[in-house]
Symmetry: C2
Subunit: 451 residues, 2 copies
Amino acid sequence: MASIVGDANVVANRDQLAVYEYDWTRRWHGRPLLAVRPSSAEEVARVFCACREASVGIVMHGGNTGLVGGATPFDGEVVLDTVRLAGIGDVDRSSRQFTVGAGVTLERAQEHARAAGLDVAVDLAARSRATIGGMVATDAGGALAMRYGTMRSSVAGVEAVLSDGRVLTRLSGLLKDNAGYDLPALLIGSEGTLAAITRVRLMLVKRPAHRVVALIGLESFADAVDLVADLRDRLGVTLEAVEFFDRIGMELACARLRKRDPLPAQHVVYVLLQIADEEDPVGLLAGAVDGPASEAMAVAEDRERQRALWSYRETLNEAVTARGVVLKYDVSVPQASIAQFVAAVDVQIRAFDERATLVIYGHLGDGNLHVNLLDVELDERQVDDALSKLVADHGGSISAEHGIGRAKRAILHPTRSSAEIEAMRAIKRALDPSETLGRERVLPPIEASGR
Amino acid sequence: MASIVGDANVVANRDQLAVYEYDWTRRWHGRPLLAVRPSSAEEVARVFCACREASVGIVMHGGNTGLVGGATPFDGEVVLDTVRLAGIGDVDRSSRQFTVGAGVTLERAQEHARAAGLDVAVDLAARSRATIGGMVATDAGGALAMRYGTMRSSVAGVEAVLSDGRVLTRLSGLLKDNAGYDLPALLIGSEGTLAAITRVRLMLVKRPAHRVVALIGLESFADAVDLVADLRDRLGVTLEAVEFFDRIGMELACARLRKRDPLPAQHVVYVLLQIADEEDPVGLLAGAVDGPASEAMAVAEDRERQRALWSYRETLNEAVTARGVVLKYDVSVPQASIAQFVAAVDVQIRAFDERATLVIYGHLGDGNLHVNLLDVELDERQVDDALSKLVADHGGSISAEHGIGRAKRAILHPTRSSAEIEAMRAIKRALDPSETLGRERVLPPIEASGR
């Protein structure tokens, strides 16, 4: 390894390896054999060949902001840290694209894009640490996905290394290119189990100059879903984000931020929306929200107050994690099923344990709900099975934006049928026959595939 | 076959099979064993199993509007005609989606969407015959791709049948769903060689109510590319399409339409642009186009005149084909390389044959150029090789939106590297090990893969 990446970029010391041993929620851990920090696709290729020859597994590791243990090693694995895949190319104004190394953080990429008057279309609370490579590998979503799509919609190409060391390069950023199978499309969201993504051709957007943010209290999830449909009709492309959280979420956020509830009364569900336009969109907001919703609404026109309103939503992941061991689910369901699904989850969890605290928040505009269970001593497997069945019954997915990783592989079925899982296994065997990359991740254990 | 789809839906009579024997350009042909018209994924699965058992190849066949022979049988193949995969579901207003059978034409899908106040985001001149299934299988592009993306961007899910009869179903239309590999993303653009797409969950858009169309004459491709960059900056999301054709294209169009040139003088290149907004966008056009461009401009404000301006661009494919045997290329290059690429093609073709007529038209907004050669007696293989090398040298693709099919498989390399082609072969073997679907299409013959 030292002959490939240099002594300084091989981590073998147990103390220095500690940073790789746990994910940030500390729910997943493993003791890696060593960690390597290659600086190019060619070095990644040589690392892969060495590991393959030695029959050692590799786990890709970016900003360690994942929530499903996908980047946490199993004992004895080699960690491939992408931190030195740090190149960042000039923004091409004619295509509104640039090429960026997998290890570059979202925040750094945002700064680079903004200096050219453009922006990255995906944004996440973990922006200061989440890497572009990790975001592509998981098809990250975030709050702006309802307007600009998930990470997939921002990728105009990738450079990637297969486990046998072959490098796939598609970085010219063509908007139309159907010459053969779309390998980048397959790699996006494959969580490092089919190839290592080393560089990304990122498509940028020109976000409107002005925005307004509003927090609205509502008395039911059904009302919140109806509000989203109305807002979408009335606001079109000016609607950038519609987030939500429940009453317990508001309490947790207030406690963690040491701030007051921005609304005078308590509500069942809170909708946070952001409107962006070339001209001041406050008028658009006034025209789009009427009736009772407009009476329980806090509006932020300046950037500082907007950040303050967003902070209630963005602190929730940390606020929940800080409460101790928690069962976390990141699901999506069709818009039309959201209210029904939330009610069904509530009934199911209460049937398991009356004292359980259920905290639901997420991205209402795209049907992505983060379901968290606190204060419970439930059998995780039992909850996993019940939740995944409820999700499937509502036409949803057991993973919306976090991925499957180690955490959800046993419950990929029934979201994915046996036929789909078998097709995935066939693709995995085709591209990584030695099973060097991301072992025991994403694809379920054979006995749990629902066959 | 009759026991699966019924007597009436098996075509074995030589006269009735004639419709399947040629593509519409009549450059590709083959005599099928028979044609079958299944009406469901289950029937498709049974047809596949029967063919696989008999070691007979299958070719998928939609509206027969392809230009690369992808839907034309080889001698002895079974044609799977999608015409009876004709279901069309209600538009769900909360998600702006509906589910549509693979055999439904684009025009029919557009009518259905428009009745709900929405629209299909992809549009093509061949809309009356091109099918949704074929458009997904080829990741069709068209004129609106610069604004709304290619077909891939409009697909929220598919139902597909693998060659062993297993059915993959992902039709709930989730906007965020990263549970395992994105099999629909792999199937989109795979041209019927990995699976048969039987149903599609289509995402619709709300297109603005008002539009203006303008035709502008310019004196160089470089000027045209600069104009596109300016228009994009000035018009943002209101810019729906920027098409182009050259002077010979204008002459061919005028001759075929029996109409006059809409501009008073001749120009080197013509740019057709469409702006759409919620209010009358004529003011936007006036603000976006200035200088010499504004002096050689025809503007169409009403729908009839807009159709008339579009007709010059939309008749070109037929006008060129009507001129007899033609060499056709559908390439894309990065925006920044368009002018250089066009000049290089001109030099190359003239070096081959001074009398050759080169007609270039296409979609300037996304770098997609249709290169046509008339009046030539050139060795097709020689031109293929030269063009594909020029495309690769400019960072482009040998297929933008038409696909590879039978026509371009020998020149998939160098657009795709040997590593990419080997990865595609591995995927093909994984999902269709018996090589029942789309034999000798898309993937190059082994000897020509550039290894």
